[in-house]
Assembly symmetry: C2
Homo-oligomer: 342 residues x 2
């Protein structure tokens, strides 16, 4: 029910996912009367793998996140996350509000042992590669201490290594410069911890102008900075497209040129298309939750489902749990790092 | 002497500025032996308006900023800011290190009464307008309290109103959402102060994807976020140019198309060209300092000189001083705002 378009986007994306994955079962949580009409024309064999948990209650986007746990226990989002908690489904995908989803997720699923708070991780395009890199946090927690940044590094590293099949993902901390005196206390402390942790491939600070050129596979920052980074980039891409569109409209010669140049711009668009940015995961919980943009179209919501499948097939929460344990035992040997900072 | 290219960029930019502004006098502070050869071919009348304060000492970019005040009192940067302090010149433009320039500026010029710390203000392009908007802080202070954000709003508003001749510049706070419960304590507190301040046109929160579409004239944030925003945008523009360039190289047809499409992309490039981003001012000091990017080319360094002229002709520090005083007296009437927060 979530997002700007509700079932009109999410349901068609679900049907497509069922068609693409013959072993996938989906439970749609929401208004049966809104969902049913959108299922017409499905083959019987596909329809068998889709069920509906009916509720008419959807969370009002204007409500403060805190109200979710008090007022919305019969909402589609709360029920969907409950299904994960009760082991009735293996993952949850939602285009609902981020704050509500985080609160519900933490409340029902709890964080993995050793993880203080969940983070939202986004994948962003890299110029010189077909692959992408991971950026976290992009909005779960606006201010982070050093141990959170360290945990983000571990979680991002685990997700990157399974998604992009990289053995030692390069981890960098987002900062305003490369020199070791740069950055906030939290960032410099996190750098110290990461430098003294074996089993993580920490490569140092990265500046924001370097994130798109593949200088790192996992980029770690607080939720405010990460949010600024992905949203300003998506906004800039839209502005550039709009400026290009305006140029093309100026006269007939430019219009023809625009048509001819379209294939030139296609690879560029594919690489930086915001709908491909979609499917930010909530990581750090004892269960899989993927957050779709509210304004996702069917393709973009489909990406969010794919992301859930990716994490599911790799059992991401368990991998994170194991990695955090492995890290802890090694980390204390770092002479410059006090243990209680973790 | 500062920046990646030193006098080879700064001196030609200075010569051009002298030619364009017949009433401009420039004092170049740096190595006479490096500067002199670059002045050949200047007309005698232009050469008369240029003088050199010789020093062979330039600040090592690797030095921590704190060392500047101890070790570099005879450096080109320190001497240049001293000239402002002593009233021998009216403004200083430098492509040297940001940290060093801020420290030197604060140490020698002091902040304007009512301003706690200086900020760095950058101008960024806006899609639907020939004008730009101002973003501050972009790196002077990585974490800011509410009163700093308030002061940034005042300073940005003053600079925008004189540069872009706008009577009531729209001021927005950068945040991760529009709802009033969003953001850090500092941001929500700053919003409260700004809402209760007469004489400032505060329009609310702005998200990062909206900064390029002209939703506000002055965008206020902490130095870390601002730095992330401008650097990631500049980085993304460079990536897009590079992807386009690669597309064009794929075969002869695309190469011809690329040549034909060049005029299509020109307005776009002009609008988002990073060299046009240049000339971030250090605002809040009792004197004018403009910071050029270290990697600025001659055109970009020229923009930084223009920015200094703009601030000088408007006597920006004095305008800020007056505005801060005017604000203070009105602001305390805001019932929801405690006075000591300012």
């Amino acid at each position: 029910m979530g997002g700007d378009f509700g079932p009109s986007v999410t349901v068609p994306a679900c049907i497509k996912a069922l068609q693409q994955h013959p072993d996938l079962f989906l439970v749609l949580v929401g208004s049966q009367t809104q969902i049913e009409p959108l299922l017409k024309g499905m083959s019987a064999s596909t329809r068998e793998r889709l069920s509906i948990v009916h509720t008419e209650v959807a969370i009002d986007e204007e409500s403060p996140p805190g109200s979710v746990l008090r007022k919305y226990k019969d909402s589609s989002m709360y029920l969907a996350v409950s299904l994960v908690k009760d082991g009735l489904v293996a993952a949850c995908v939602s285009a609902g509000g981020t704050g509500a989803l985080l609160l519900t997720g933490r409340h029902l699923l709890k964080t993995i042992s050793g993880i203080g708070k969940p983070a939202i991780i986004a994948s962003i395009p890299v110029l010189d590669s077909e692959q992408r890199c991971y950026l976290l946090d992009v909005g779960a927690d606006l201010t982070c201490d050093a141990s959170q940044l360290y945990q983000y590094a571990v979680m991002g590293s685990v997700l990157d290594s399974v998604t992009h099949v990289r053995e030692n993902p390069r981890i960098a901390l987002l900062n305003v410069g490369h020199e070791e005196h740069k950055g906030t206390d939290q960032i410099r402390q996190a750098a110290q911890i990461l430098e003294n942790t074996e089993g993580l491939n920490y490569v140092g600070f990265i500046e924001s102008n370097e994130v798109f050129i593949g200088k790192a596979d996992v980029i770690v920052c607080d939720g405010f900075s990460g949010n600024v980074l992905i949203k300003s980039s998506a906004g800039l891409v839209r502005v550039i497209e709009s400026l290009f569109h305006d140029s093309v409209q100026r006269n007939l010669f430019y219009r023809i040129l625009g048509l001819l140049a379209a294939p030139l711009l296609r690879p560029l668009r594919e690489r930086i298309d915001p709908s491909q940015f979609n499917g930010a995961s909530v990581v750090g919980l004892q269960g899989i939750i993927v957050k779709s943009h509210g304004n996702a179209n069917t393709t973009a919501f489909g990406h969010a489902i794919e992301e859930a499948l990716n994490e599911l097939s790799n059992n991401l929460p368990e991998l994170i749990r194991q990695k955090i344990i492995a890290m802890k035992t090694i980390n204390v040997s770092g002479a410059a790092v006090s243990h209680d900072i973790l």
